[in-house]
Symmetry: C2
Subunit: 346 residues, 2 copies
């Protein structure tokens, strides 16, 4: 029962500052037909991620800009409903960069089959997808934590932050999250097992709050937010510390760089290493990491929280909220039911 | 003929902002006598280096603060004039951290004998001393230049910068210096062989001048100055570039951090690695590097320029000028004649 038309979210215009719903447009188009080597996927969970803000700009970003009128979004999880592909079969659950729409054809070499026995299939957009890989490689390859060190992660309840903190705990570190609001802080401390969480909205003197939470200073900072939170962390970095630059969500809507206290002088004596990275730099190493994390998720050792919004029409609004920190956990847009019979069906 | 008294420069008070001569005091004291295991050194060349500004502060710096009333300075080159030391003999030319004074006793394990056959002995404070080692390890271990890449170094005619640029040329890089004034720029380009030099005082639009000098962008930035020069460089960094943070002389007199455009967001997509270092981190590797550079200096392949001021009483003023960029080459204070008969005697 593949409908003749489907809905999709396209970029209508480029935002100045904070995006509005007027920057997006929902349109009806003919459902595409798979050609030789392609599959048709009925999308179920659409990923909404901070990096997509960069794709709304015309200028250079590490993610290619989306053209006006093109489908917005990035990774999606869905079910193969027609296949002219040698490997993927009807009924397979797959993940790929298929955007915010109800159906997509794909012959992408990056498409991967999801094992629904491990966890809810939405995790392929989250803890077992791009954000999980980001956390894993950003923490271990860039942050290089050692047992007994103190690891601080901002946006601690977010898609990446929640995984970073749990992995750092497993590595024997003291783990301090930074998040906005008591609910998020309680969650990362009580449910995820972080040692402490600083509520940046309530802390007042953020430096003092961080000092109290990090009595031995900070050895690894996993940076997701930038801005004033970042400034406060930088002042508490220990000698030989590492800063893994994953993102700076507080800056994404800025039209020009914010001003902040200069860092380089501070970093000399402390021998700080600050390094930017993008998850795809580690693509060649995804498979073993995903297998390890899949087993930890299956056994309950690695927890995850998702924030699932239902309805394609809510995607733009939810994404705008994500940039403000309104979400609580990995944001996804659910646009169709999961197939019957999945072990972790939701 | 060792005099009974000698002169030395002590720290009289801590500066607020730019130091003044009133922060220093020259005093006459009894010339010390070497005890068992010590040598008495008649100092000849006293080193004046930007990092000494950090030692004038009471607070934490990577170099321990100098106490009020204690001898100022750092490394010095001199002649052993009395010895109760098992290894060093009268007549040896040595280098060690002996401060700004006319005589010093030392049993320091870091004292080293200089071979006057290689080059003028003052080079033990410069190209073959701490600044030379800083350039070598900062460039190769932190900057990691590859042939064909573009290396930019600020304070290009300074003690460290002049060596960085020449080493980077030998490594097959395009080398662009940044210096203040036409004389310094002409020197690094025409005498040292840099490919280009940007005069930050005359450039007007520094970003445009850098772009013109670095048509393929910047792969390695060797940071000596911080401030607006640094801001301009950061915007031209290439993907996978490295920033070796050696110092930030433009900031040393600041009482609180200057504000600058935020970097971290920029560094994510570009995968910039920015790393602070201190030369002593590489102490275990000094000897082979010094041997290599000694040979290059001896053969004329590695050039050096020193700015030698005569008279202990000029040390404070010269150091204050160093922080403003008044020096041209490695600043040294000559306080006594070299022994007769040295091959490169000056």
């Amino acid at each position: 029962m593949i409908p003749k038309t489907q809905r999709r979210v396209v970029l209508a215009s480029r935002p100045a500052g904070e995006p509005t719903e007027a920057n997006f447009r929902i349109e009806d188009v003919a459902t595409p037909e798979p050609q030789h080597g392609e599959v048709l996927v009925r999308l179920i969970y659409l990923s909404a991620d901070p990096y997509m803000r960069g794709r709304m700009r015309d200028g250079a970003s590490y993610a290619a800009p989306i053209k006006i009128g093109d489908v917005f979004g990035g990774g999606s999880v869905g079910e193969v409903v027609a296949s002219k592909h040698p490997v993927f079969k009807v009924g397979d659950i797959v993940e790929d960069r298929m955007g915010w729409q109800e159906y997509a054809v794909s012959a992408s070499p990056t498409m991967r089959r999801i094992d629904p026995a491990i966890a809810p299939i939405s995790t392929a957009n989250g803890v077992l997808g791009m954000p999980g890989m980001t956390a894993y490689f950003g923490l271990f390859d860039i942050g290089q934590p050692k047992a007994g060190e103190t690891v601080v992660v901002s946006a601690a309840s977010g898609a990446v932050g929640q995984v970073v903190g749990q992995l750092a705990k497993m590595a024997g570190c003291r783990v301090v999250g930074i998040a906005g609001g008591a609910k998020k802080c309680d969650f990362v401390r009580d449910d995820l097992g972080f040692d402490a969480c600083v509520d940046y909205k309530a802390a007042g003197d953020l430096g003092a709050a961080l000092k109290a939470a990090c009595p031995n200073g900070i050895d690894v900072y996993f940076e997701n937010v930038g801005g004033a939170v970042s400034d406060a962390v930088m002042l508490q970095l220990n000698t030989w510390s590492r800063v893994a630059l994953c993102g700076a969500i507080s800056q994404y809507n800025a039209e020009k760089p914010e001003m902040a206290p200069r860092l380089p002088g501070l970093f000399v004596g402390k021998r700080v290493t600050m390094r930017g990275f993008i998850v795809s730099d580690f693509a060649a190493k995804y498979e073993p990491a995903r297998a390890l994390m899949g087993e930890m998720v299956r056994s309950g050792k690695l927890k995850f929280r998702e924030d699932i919004v239902s309805g394609l029409e809510l995607a733009p609004k939810s994404f705008i909220g994500l940039l403000r920190g309104d979400n609580f956990g990995k944001l996804q847009i659910k646009v169709a039911d999961e197939p019957a019979g999945l072990p972790h069906r939701r």
